[in-house]
């Protein structure tokens, strides 16, 4: 891009001048081109050079060497120069980039239209370079859009980038590309499908809304979770393009919320937040699933899900923050919760589930995730549990400056309400000289919030260092902080005050001024016996020039003029001399002082007061004139003044309440922590209020989920489903996982464990929670000695039987330990004759040392009577029997808490496999004993189950 590329440059400059001329009518032009110099010419004074494109155009401006003459006064020209320059440079920019783009765009166009892939790619890279710089490349649209179907993936992607950027401006041409995307949406490659949807939905052209809608609907049912994720993103794009589609989009959101993939969860919640944040009903059924998936969702999704669930929880659960008599209860073991009749509050198991499942995320490397968990605990957890977030928040202070800033803001808000949370970490908030100013001030704020009787001396010593800081703004803030400590903690008020008085002799004026202001506030809180300080300040008065400080001293003099009867009139005398040169605020306080002195000591000050009132009467400021008139009427008795005059003294010298020194973060807690609104301290667009806890919890059963048919391929998701189903069983949802945060959990675990070990066969409870992972005990069906080489073992996989719902699934492992192959292994006669068995298919041949696993189903008719049958090979028949333990005859069952008892100690609901009779087990813990209750219509079964459970628990 050399100068030669720009033959039209002369005309361009002239164009600019013409344009300028239209702006400034009275500019006359120099000779054509005389102000254009190429290369690096020295610009004389007042010239500005614009070197954006390889040649320098120097525009002489505001100089008096008459490059052009202007009808204006040179001084005004000088002043205007900047404005003109700004306008000109902008115009230059656009005019000059355009021709540049034009000329190079010509060859770009040629390159794009060539047959060579490499040339096209090169051209597209340059085009993307233009876009990145923010330059206009829209006129290449026709040439670019032709390549949308290119085979070269990189070229195609760059074309996508271009399309998304300019489609809005070139709607008609953009439509040409749509069919390509529609085709790509049907590609077998999921990545191509996803990218096509991404681009299609990013093209902001309203004509294609129906096409987009269709594409989103299809993609939301795609096999690939990645494509479904893209669909979730597309929902928001379409919504912002056409809000009328809301209803249809909500349907898609509803569908995607049910998605079990961790990939989709975060994205669909973003869409939910954007499109229909008020449709809380859509969350109910997915609440438990989201809680359980949370740990495996990618980190960005975790952040949005957690903040959405925080809002959800505040509408659905009752407050765990009952203060009064429950305080003692909270400090005691949570286990006792169930026994304490006096406490009506029990945490909803779903509430507990959320708290429990978010806790591990405090260890995330992602600061946003940690913060979102912290705010969740702050807004949802019982007060005594919030402390667990402290360490993690303090850890974040090691991170980048920006992270520190946000985290400190949040800690500042938290530390006002809960000092104890951060007090042990006080030293982490000590300021370093290298911290940025806003970080320093925030740390100071927190230290001040944390101050109490015990640590105040440490904090004050630390503050002493800060006051000496080179950063004067920070030093001033420290003085404010000392003032706050002094008012908050009465023990140290005197120490602080004397410290501040020492600062009055500081060399830096801001420090002195700030000290005066703070001292004034402090004296006001306890004015007795401080006349020394007031005298000291009076002495300093001549040397202080910051008006706020001067005004403060004057106010003090007036307010306590009776304590310093000799000094106050003298100060007034000095003020009378300098009155006219003072700032307004000082003048107002002078008038006040005069008035107060007049009332208390009119003998000495009558003339001075009159003089000052006269000065005030003719002051330039309205305020001062008004005040003067008011004061004169009030204090000087005359006929018109009436009754008010009598009360002048009581009006002016009334005892005044001391000002409150408060934290700037005091009312920040009206915003949800961690939000943008909290950070800027005003409501940001789209901020969702956190609702207050409901007085009465809404129906809990809305979150119950019908039993979902487990699909064998997706074992991971299945496990979360299972725990979904069981979570309704009063809070034992994740006993399968090892985390135990609530007291009831170890108990629960014990129960499941003991069931596994000594009871050998009865593992129903374990099966409920972890169907696919629980260690499975196998039993001998046929020993290889008796079976002439054929051995068989079986175990109960504890999954619903595939063949008939009334059957119990059994897996049999057949092994051949003989030296010859066995043929035609099948099941022969069975007894009792009516025994309903689903046999496995005959195994044609089992080689030596080989084994095979087959599954079968047996209907035990809810009895523990053994199922006898014959296992046959081609030559032999062996009688075998399977005797189930009662636990194997049960299936987990879902029911709402209302339907079941509300005990938390540990309970289980199930159905018998065959007849579907309900079996309810509840375990109620007393201090030293436990009450185990089993309710079922099958009494034999109940007694057997009771015996087994008792045995198991006793062993534990």
């Amino acid at each position: 891009m050399s100068v030669q590329n720009f033959p039209p440059i002369y005309s361009t400059v002239v164009e600019i001048f013409q344009w300028l001329k239209s702006v400034y009518k009275n500019i006359s032009f120099p000779e054509k081109g005389s102000c254009l110099s190429s290369g690096r010419s020295l610009a004389p004074r007042g010239r500005r050079s614009c070197s954006s494109i390889g040649c320098i155009v120097s525009v002489p401006f505001g100089s008096h060497n008459n490059v052009w003459s202007t009808g204006r006064d040179p001084a005004i020209w000088e002043a205007d120069t900047d404005a003109v320059y700004a306008a000109l440079s902008h115009h230059l920019w656009s005019t000059f980039t355009a021709p540049e783009a034009k000329s190079s765009n010509e060859d770009l166009k040629e390159m794009l239209e060539s047959n060579k892939e490499s040339l096209k790619l090169e051209a597209m890279k340059r085009v993307v370079g233009l876009i990145a710089k923010g330059k206009n490349a829209s006129e290449l649209f026709p040439a670019v859009v032709k390549n949308v179907a290119s085979k070269n993936i990189e070229l195609k992607k760059l074309v996508y980038v271009y399309l998304v950027r300019y489609a809005e401006e070139q709607q008609d041409l953009a439509l040409l590309s749509i069919s390509t995307f529609q085709r790509a949406l049907k590609e077998p490659n999921q990545f191509i499908r996803a990218s096509a949807l991404r681009v299609l939905s990013s093209i902001r052209v309203s004509i294609i809304v129906p096409i987009m809608m269709l594409a989103i609907k299809e993609a939301s049912a795609d096999m690939s979770p990645y494509v479904r994720k893209t669909a979730a993103h597309a929902i928001q794009k379409l919504y912002s393009l056409d809000p009328d589609q809301k209803e249809q989009l909500i349907e898609v959101i509803e569908k995607l919320l049910k998605d079990k993939s961790t990939l989709v969860a975060g994205s669909v919640v973003v869409a939910f937040d954007e499109v229909c944040p008020d449709r809380i009903d859509l969350i109910h059924k997915n609440y438990r699933k989201l809680c359980n998936l949370l740990v495996d969702v990618e980190e960005w999704g975790q952040v949005v899900i957690i903040s959405m669930l925080t809002r959800y929880a505040r509408t659905q659960f009752t407050s765990p923050w009952k203060e009064d008599n429950e305080k003692a209860f909270y400090e005691s073991e949570e286990e006792k919760k169930d026994q304490t009749e006096a406490t009506p509050y029990t945490m909803d198991p779903d509430h507990r589930l959320l708290l429990r499942n978010t806790k591990p995320l405090l260890q995330s490397r992602n600061t946003a995730v940690v913060m979102s968990v912290a705010q969740l605990y702050w807004h949802l957890a019982p007060k005594h549990e919030v402390n667990i977030v402290t360490k993690s928040l303090v850890r974040l202070l090691r991170s980048h400056r920006e992270v520190q800033y946000i985290v400190l803001q949040n800690i500042a808000t938290m530390s006002i309400q809960r000092k104890g949370m951060f007090e042990p970490f006080m030293k982490s908030f000590y300021v370093r000289s290298t911290d940025a100013t806003h970080i320093k001030t925030l740390k100071l704020e927190i230290l001040t919030n944390l101050a109490n009787e015990a640590n105040i001396s440490t904090i004050l010593r630390e503050f002493q260092t800060y006051v000496k800081s080179q950063d004067k703004a920070f030093a001033a803030a420290t003085i404010q902080a000392i003032g706050r400590c002094a008012t908050d903690i009465s023990e140290v008020t005197d120490t602080c005050l004397s410290g501040l008085v020492l600062l009055l002799s500081n060399r830096d004026e801001t420090v002195v001024a700030e000290s005066v202001v703070v001292i004034k506030k402090l004296l006001q809180t306890q004015p007795t016996q401080h006349s020394d300080i007031i005298k000291h300040m009076a002495k300093l008065f001549d040397n202080i020039s910051v008006s706020m400080a001067r005004a403060s001293i004057l106010w003090l003099m007036g307010e306590y003029c009776e304590r310093v009867p000799k000094i106050a009139p003298d100060v007034l005398r000095k003020m009378a001399k300098t009155f006219t040169a003072e700032e307004d605020i000082v003048k107002l306080q002078t008038v006040n002082l005069a008035a107060k002195l007049y009332l208390t000591n009119s003998k000495q000050t009558k003339l001075l007061t009159q003089y000052i009132l006269n000065l005030g009467k003719y002051d330039q400021s309205y305020d001062i004139r008004d005040r003067t008139r008011f004061v004169r009427q009030l204090i000087v008795p005359n006929e018109k003044s009436g009754a008010l005059n009598k009360y002048a003294r009581r009006i002016l010298l009334a005892p005044k309440p001391a000002p409150m020194l408060e934290s700037a973060f005091k009312d920040r807690d009206r915003f949800q922590l961690g939000t943008l609104s909290h950070s800027i301290n005003s409501k940001a667009t789209g901020y969702q209020e956190l609702s207050d806890w409901p007085a009465v919890a809404p129906d809990q059963s809305v979150r119950n989920v019908e039993v979902v048919e487990p699909s064998s391929s997706e074992s991971e998701e299945q496990s979360s489903d299972e725990s979904d189903e069981t979570s309704s069983d009063s809070g034992k949802s994740s006993s399968g996982s090892e985390k135990s945060s609530s007291e009831s959990e170890p108990e629960q675990k014990k129960k499941t464990k003991t069931k596994k070990a000594p009871q050998k066969k009865s593992k129903a409870a374990a099966a409920v929670t972890a169907p696919s992972f629980g260690p499975v005990k196998t039993h001998e069906l046929l020993h290889h000695m008796t079976g002439k080489g054929l051995s068989a073992k079986y175990h109960f996989p504890r999954q619903p039987c595939l063949y008939q719902p009334s059957m119990v699934a059994v897996q049999v492992i057949l092994a051949n330990s003989s030296d010859h192959s066995l043929e035609k292994i099948h099941i022969g006669d069975r007894s009792p004759a009516g025994l309903n068995i689903h046999c496995f298919n005959t195994i044609e041949r089992l080689e030596p040392e080989a084994s095979v696993t087959v599954s079968m189903g047996i209907d035990f008719s809810d009895s523990t009577q053994a199922a006898n049958f014959q296992l046959c090979t081609k030559e032999d028949q062996f009688s075998v029997s399977i005797q189930p333990v009662v636990g194997e005859l049960l299936m987990p069952s879902t029911m709402s808490e209302q339907d079941f008892s509300k005990e938390q100690g540990g309970s289980f609901a199930g159905r018998t496999v065959s007849s579907g009779a309900l079996v309810l087990v509840s375990l109620e813990l007393k201090e030293s004993s436990a009450l185990l209750t089993i309710n079922t219509e099958k009494s034999v079964m109940a007694s057997m189950l009771l015996r087994d459970l008792k045995q198991a628990l006793a062993l534990a």
């Binding site: 490499s118 890279k125 370079g129 990145a132 923010g134 070269n152 990189e154 992607k157 760059l158 950027r165 990545f191 690939s224 979770p225 990645y226 893209t230 993103h233 928001q236 794009k237 961790t262 990939l263 975060g266 973003v270 990618e298 903040s307 490397r365 992602n366 600061t367 946003a368 913060m371 993690s392 850890r395 090691r398 980048h400 400056r401 920006e402 992270v403 946000i406 985290v407 030293k427 982490s428 000590y430 370093r432 000289s433 290298t434 940025a436 100013t437 806003h438 000496k468 800081s469 961690g674 939000t675 943008l676 005003s682 940001a684 667009t685 789209g686 969702q688 991971e716 996982s737 090892e738």
Partner: protein, 418 residues
């Protein structure tokens, strides 16, 4: 969520812009420039700014501002964390994160930004996933690409995107299988004038460099895990195993990554490796001051202190420094008023000393406050907290990897007040 991104250099030029939703004019950055004008130091610019229609969230990294524009409520840390992740990715791809490098690789940068966000929501931020989508530029590859016409862009979905372990790519193969871990500890401390410790704590990080074939499952255990008070993990670490057994069990990402960050429990006293004797004073009369600093070893665990460096932010009035150092060199950076004394290795027999005169601007008042010293140091082969890795085991693969653990102690924010 994130609407647009502008990259801005120190002189205030916007040299790259990317929009994930509709285009926002770069004039929105004017509010930022206004705030930048007001701030003394670029670090002082508030990270969150409010403008009439937008909110600007800015991150300052390596002399660049990453300015993002958001229009609606969003957790600010979400944006900040993401912007830092973008900067990390650039660093990872191009070796550094600077204006010139970004300008040279503008197309790759643009492709990366396109993949990292969709409609303002992060799509792929794992380095391993991104590297499968867009291969990092190397000289060899660019030559090959020009010859064969192949491209840097992958056309299949990276395996990581779908799996439950997105951080690892499939089919990794190495001839030399190695797993190295660096345990790096930093001492954060504030010492007061007399040398007493005001505040000290140890923060540690375990950086891993793992190049192993296939899908190895590693377990790293410590001799003394009780030292660790607070930890944060790479997502690959199984948290439940940590809770129950205090061992790190994980399927590692391929390449370099941070395995964990930790904070050493504050019950343990922190060993401060060096002591500093200093006196900086400014005379009441005459435009000068005196400086005298000596550094000596204190608790070094029997190791040598290396890369010792002292940095002093001088008061504004200090014009020049005329000093003599018994060891190392000193420089005084006048515009920033920073005195740097680069000492190098600390010799316990002959303690390094820096002494001399500071001249002040004529007529300027005597500086109120003495500047604090920032100390930088490094001790090889020791973790100052005493943390030790006891063993590393590998499951799931048959070969025998090379394993190694290295310990380093550094000074973090180590400040001596004067």
């Amino acid at each position: 969520m994130i609407h647009s991104l502008f990259l801005i250099n120190h002189s205030g030029d916007i040299f790259l812009e990317k929009h994930w939703k509709s285009v926002i004019s770069h004039s929105v950055c004017d509010y930022f420039f206004e705030a930048k004008e007001k701030a003394v130091d670029p670090e002082d610019v508030p990270p969150v700014l409010q403008t009439p229609h937008h909110y600007l969230i800015t991150v300052h990294r390596g002399k660049l501002f990453f300015l993002s524009v958001v229009q609606t409520e969003v957790p600010p840390l979400f944006v900040i964390e993401f912007l830092h992740r973008v900067a990390d990715t650039f660093q990872d791809y191009f070796g550094e994160c600077s204006e010139s490098v970004i300008k040279d690789n503008v197309v790759t940068v643009y492709e990366l930004l396109e993949e990292m966000l969709d409609n303002g929501f992060p799509l792929a931020t794992e380095s391993n996933v991104l590297k499968e989508l867009i291969r990092p530029p190397t000289i060899l590859r660019s030559v090959v690409n020009t010859l064969t016409g192949s491209s840097n862009v992958g056309d299949t979905l990276p395996t990581g995107q779908l799996s439950t372990i997105p951080w690892r790519r499939a089919d990794v193969k190495y001839t030399n299988n190695e797993a190295y871990f660096d345990v790096i500890e930093e001492i954060d401390a504030i010492l007061d004038k007399s040398g007493t410790t005001v505040f000290a704590e140890i923060q540690g990080v375990i950086e891993a460099s793992v190049r192993l074939t296939g899908m190895p499952d590693l377990t790293l255990s410590f001799m003394n895990p009780r030292l660790l008070d607070d930890v944060s993990f790479h997502p690959c670490v199984r948290f439940k195993r940590w809770e129950s057994e205090r061992t790190l069990s994980f399927i590692p990402p391929d390449g370099n990554f941070t395995l964990m960050n930790y904070h050493v429990s504050s019950q343990n006293p922190v060993a401060i490796p060096v002591y500093v004797k200093q006196s900086i004073s400014f005379f009441e009369s005459g435009p000068c001051g005196r400086l005298d600093i000596t550094i000596g070893p204190k608790q070094t665990m029997g190791k040598t202190v290396e890369a010792l460096m002292v940095k002093i932010h001088m008061p504004k009035a200090v014009l020049s420094a005329n000093l003599t150092a018994t060891q190392g060199n000193y420089t005084y950076d006048l515009p920033n008023k920073v005195l740097v004394w680069d000492i190098g290795k600390l010799n316990p027999q002959k303690l390094p000393n820096l002494k001399g005169i500071l001249s002040l601007q004529a007529g300027a008042p005597k500086p109120e406050d003495n500047p604090s010293l920032n100390i930088d140091l490094r001790i090889q082969q020791v973790a100052i907290s005493g943390l030790k890795v006891s063993r590393l085991e590998m499951f799931g693969e048959k070969y025998k990897p090379f394993k190694g653990v290295k310990y380093v102690t550094k000074a973090g924010k180590f400040q001596v007040r004067t």
